[in-house]
């Protein structure tokens, strides 16, 4: 016999549960609340119904406690969550992860879906945000020309920094086509490149009034802007999509005006202080330099060259004096030597020998002094010189010895 699969109740319930969970992932359902019970455990139970059907729903405490509105019977809502099976009672239920009042719910839903989409695309990334220039010269404003917002902004910008230039690109900020006008105005400024920063915004209003600032076309224009964009939607509590994409978010148009320009008086004070510091540091530096010069001038090192000079001078004086003495001495010595030498010379002079009676004999014709008779022959002519005068004669006889 063929084996027939027999399930236990638990088994088939688990099968059903698995089928439901696999085939129906998280989804949105619109319906009306009935049989609402806020259990002592903190969890909320209710039935979601329309004309023809109903679903048991569970809202866990950790979600229910943070809702911004009170759930009550008869309320039309949009819920987000998943369908599963409560095994104990064999009952399929909706497990609520988020719940919104229906009318507002559509817009909120669109908001959340767009937010999710743009978030995933990275449009809110911090690193994409451009710094707001500290001193913008020209400020572009995208808002309605007729609202209080533009007047507030002009007033505050004027008051804080009178030299700033303002260019308004007037747009519709609510109703049909508002988002497209806002986006185009941002593009205009980027095309013209005639402003340093753009403020995009409007005064406060209901969620519907502010809707243009939650539209994708505006978000993309802000993201694409090369000029930094400050969002200024008068909506202090919630963020609009424009706030999330903008390079800087201001809670109101007035706040945007304050954030974008610094107060002139503050800047003037800053410049004064900087200039004061500048002068003080420079004066102290000059003072310091003066002291250094003075110290240097009065230092031993600086005096030393003079010292060295006077000492050298003294030495020179001494040397000059010594030199004079030495020269004198040397002249004296020389004179003495000269006298001695003259005496010696005189003693050696042949004339003085002749004076004592000696004579000198020269052989002629060459007039060669004769010191030996061997150099003479008979009949050679000779000249004999005496102390006084000379005479010539002929050799008559030669004897080797006296």
């Amino acid at each position: 016999m063929e084996q027939i699969k027999i399930y236990t109740v638990s088994e088939i319930t688990r099968e059903v549960k698995a089928l439901l969970e696999l085939n129906l992932p998280t989804l949105w359902i619109e319906g009306e609340i009935s049989n609402f019970i806020h259990h002592s455990s903190g969890h909320r139970y209710f039935t979601l119904k329309d004309e023809n059907a109903q679903i048991k729903s569970v809202l866990w405490r950790d979600i229910g406690d943070f809702l911004r509105f009170e759930i009550e019977d008869g309320m039309k809502v949009v819920v987000y969550g998943n369908i599963s099976v409560y095994e104990k009672q064999g009952q399929y239920q909706f497990y609520v992860e988020d719940i919104l009042p229906a009318g507002l719910g559509k817009l909120e839903l669109a908001f959340r879906q767009l937010k999710e989409k743009l978030f995933k695309e990275g449009l809110f990334e911090e690193e994409h945000k451009k710094p707001i220039p500290e001193f913008p010269q020209t400020i572009g404003i995208v808002t309605s020309p007729t609202g209080a917002a533009i007047q507030d902004m002009i007033h505050i910008l004027h008051r804080r920094m009178p030299s700033v230039e303002i260019i308004l690109n007037p747009v519709k900020v609510q109703g049909d086509g508002a988002a497209r006008e806002i986006a185009q105005a941002i593009k205009d400024f980027n095309q013209l490149q005639n402003v340093d920063v753009i403020i995009v915004g409007r005064g406060g209003g209901s969620l519907e009034d502010l809707w243009a600032f939650n539209e994708e076309i505006v978000a993309r224009a802000i993201y694409a802007s090369e000029i930094p964009v400050v969002s200024a939607v008068g909506h202090e509590i919630d963020f609009t999509i424009a706030d999330l994409v903008a390079d800087l978010r201001a809670p109101t148009p007035s706040a945007a005006a304050e954030l974008v320009v610094r107060d002139r008086r503050e800047v003037v004070t800053q410049i004064k202080n900087l200039t004061q510091s500048l002068i003080e540091y420079q004066l102290s530096q000059i003072q310091e330099a003066k002291i250094r010069v003075k110290t240097a001038v009065e230092s031993y090192g600086m005096k030393k060259p003079w010292d060295i000079l006077t000492q050298k001078g003294q030495r020179i004086d001494e040397l000059v004096k010594n030199m004079g003495w030495l020269v004198n001495q040397s002249v004296k010595n020389s004179k003495q030597n000269l006298a001695n030498l003259m005496g010696k010379l005189n003693a050696l002079s042949p004339l003085s020998i002749l004076e004592r009676g000696y004579s000198v004999c020269y052989k002629l014709p060459e007039l060669k002094l004769v010191k030996d008779v061997d150099k003479l022959k008979l009949e050679d002519s000779v000249e004999v010189r005496l102390h006084k005068g000379k005479f010539k004669g002929k050799v008559e006889r030669i004897e080797k010895n006296w």
């Binding site: 007047q151 303002i166 003037v268 410049i271 540091y281």
Partner: protein, 79 residues
């Protein structure tokens, strides 16, 4: 746009000069030079701040993608 950032640049440079002087690492020559620069920057910044009252203009499209600027008169109504 370059001219538009001149004030910011000037103020940044002035701050830089003051901190350079504060650091005291400069020679007297250098410090005198940047001191003079600092004083000029200070004058420039003060002058910029006291320039004429701001203008408020309105961007108007003239068709065929052209723009012109008109003086803005704020209407006081609506919203």
């Amino acid at each position: 746009m370059t001219q538009k950032n001149s004030f910011e640049k000037a103020l940044n440079r002035l701050e830089e000069i003051v901190s350079q002087l504060e650091s005291g690492d400069l020679s007297l020559d250098e410090s005198l030079k940047i001191f003079q620069e600092g004083i000029e920057l200070s004058r420039f910044c003060t002058k910029k701040l006291s320039e004429a009252e701001s203008k408020v203009k309105k961007l108007v499209k003239t068709g065929s993608g052209k723009f012109k600027l008109e003086d803005l008169e704020i209407e006081d109504k609506e919203e």
